[in-house]
């Protein structure tokens, strides 16, 4: 069986083919799928996030790495489900109404999935009502909102208002992110968490569900 470190490398380098092949082999050999995720794939994506922060990695490389992880996760998901593994939590994520930017949001969605969350990604330009409907139908406890334009940030506030109107505010934790977003804005609109990077988003989600902070 291939060295599992190859899984780490292949995600880091955005080599979906190898990531999938190694995962397949490992699962067939009986390796615990959550080990693959927590010890190889997530650390690889965390490193990707770090390199992007330091401008050593560029957007296409981040996308390729996320794609590699996604490919591997597709094999792992059914195995975890068959084992009766419960998701760490349920997240609804999307870019708010009027905004089309999705790179960061997609990265966060991949990372959350890798971290064991069930993620419903509603895409871009999502109106408040759609977020609410999805949260209700999935009985999800976490809402993650992204905006990359100062002009669309108000949609975040409107979405939180919509949550209150639907009587969901107490049941749903809200995290927000995106280049123009700040902790100050998060405090202003009553969001529960803000992060300026994908790793931080995952940490926030884990805090929301009461998981122990990862070493």
């Amino acid at each position: 069986m291939s060295e599992l470190s190859i899984l780490y490398q292949s995600v880091l380098e955005g080599d979906a083919k190898t990531a999938v092949a190694v995962t397949k082999e490992a699962l067939a050999a009986g390796v615990d799928p959550s080990v693959l995720v927590t010890q190889y794939m997530i650390p690889a994506m965390a490193e990707v996030g770090q390199r992007f922060e330091c401008q050593q990695y560029y957007v296409p490389e981040v996308l390729l790495a996320a794609r590699a992880m996604k490919g591997a996760l597709e094999l792992i998901r059914p195995v975890l489900a068959a084992k009766g593994a419960k998701p760490a939590g349920k997240v609804v994520i999307g870019t708010v109404k009027g905004d089309l930017h999705d790179i960061g949001k997609n990265l966060v969605a991949s990372m959350l999935e890798g971290a064991g969350f069930e993620v419903a990604d509603l895409g871009v330009d999502v109106p408040p009502a759609k977020f609410v409907a999805e949260l209700q139908s999935r009985n999800a406890g976490i809402l993650a909102l992204s905006a990359l334009l100062t002009t669309t940030m108000p949609s975040m506030e409107r979405t939180i208002e919509e949550l209150k109107k639907a009587g969901l505010r107490e049941k749903v934790k809200v995290m927000i992110g995106g280049a123009p977003v700040t902790q100050q804005y998060a405090d202003q609109i009553g969001a529960d968490a803000y992060s300026d990077n994908a790793n931080g988003a995952v940490a926030a989600a884990r805090r929301f569900v009461g998981a122990q902070p990862r070493p």
Binding site: Y58, L100, T151, P154
Partner: protein, 267 residues
């Protein structure tokens, strides 16, 4: 080639900070710099949440205090536009209208009343379009609808909507080909785009921006929103105009050379 200077955009940190402290001198400086670099029109964006209505008009007044060129009002807010358009001394451009129902319905009356030039951005009711066929189809629908409402074709500038090539390998060729196809269907239609979107997320953005601008010009694009102060870009525009036969006897090129505009400024 109509060059619209993009610098006065409140979504950019430096400009937003100047705008928030109402630093008219700073904004005027940005306007003058862009004009000196060769811009024919200036884009102004007052997009600070909750302040756009006031800011757009403020920007128009400040910029017109220092310069005399037409302005491109970068706003989809009908209230902001209704306040700002009457202040424009020269015929203005509105950037932009799309197919999104609320936006189309709320901007159309403003357009019909004030008759500005109009950027028609290829965003459908369903959201962003990246495929070539969809882009061209959206452009056609928008043009058909706008002209049916009495907007003169000559007032419309179609923007195929540029996405970063870093997020999709086909985004560049899709825009380039859509310009060709849109112009084939509507001979003489103006086309425009915000060029710098193409390079988001990649290193040395200037290279991509300039190469894309030239490629767009070779496809017949006749207007672009760029930073004219970027070293070398206006020289390249001058060269490209001559190369696509829009500079009779290359006199524009020679004139620019004699003004010292074609070579990097010597230290």
């Amino acid at each position: 080639m109509l060059i619209i200077g993009e610098r006065i955009n409140s979504t950019r940190k430096l400009i937003r900070e100047a705008v928030l402290r109402r630093d008219a001198e700073f904004i005027k400086g940005e306007a003058i710099r862009q004009l000196q670099a060769g811009a024919h029109m200036l884009d102004v964006n007052g997009g600070v949440p909750g302040q756009e209505v006031e800011l757009l008009s403020w920007l128009v007044n400040v910029v017109q205090d220092a310069t005399d060129v037409p302005l491109c009002l970068d706003s989809a807010d009908p209230e902001a536009l209704r306040k700002a358009l009457p202040l424009c001394r020269k015929p203005a451009m509105v950037n932009s209208i799309t197919e999104e129902p609320v936006r189309f319905q709320s901007l159309l009356p403003v357009v019909k009343e004030y008759r500005p030039k109009l950027v028609a951005l290829c965003l459908s009711a369903e959201g962003p379009i990246t495929g070539l066929e969809d882009r061209v189809a959206t452009a056609h629908r928008l043009l058909d609808r706008l002209t049916a409402e009495g907007v003169p074709l000559d007032d419309i500038y179609v923007d195929p909507c540029v996405f970063p090539i870093g997020t999709g390998t086909q985004h560049g060729s899709s825009v380039l080909e859509s310009v060709t196809q849109i112009r084939m269907r509507y001979p003489g239609v103006h086309t425009i785009c915000g060029v710098s979107n193409v390079s988001f997320g990649l290193p040395v953005r200037k290279l991509l921006n300039e190469a894309f601008l030239i490629m767009l010009m070779s496809r017949g694009m006749d207007a672009a929103i760029i930073d004219p102060c970027e070293e070398g870009v206006m020289a390249e525009v001058t060269a490209a105009e001559a190369l696509r036969s829009r500079d009779p006897d290359c006199l524009g090129y020679i004139k620019a050379y004699r003004k010292g505009l074609l070579e990097p400024r010597k230290a």
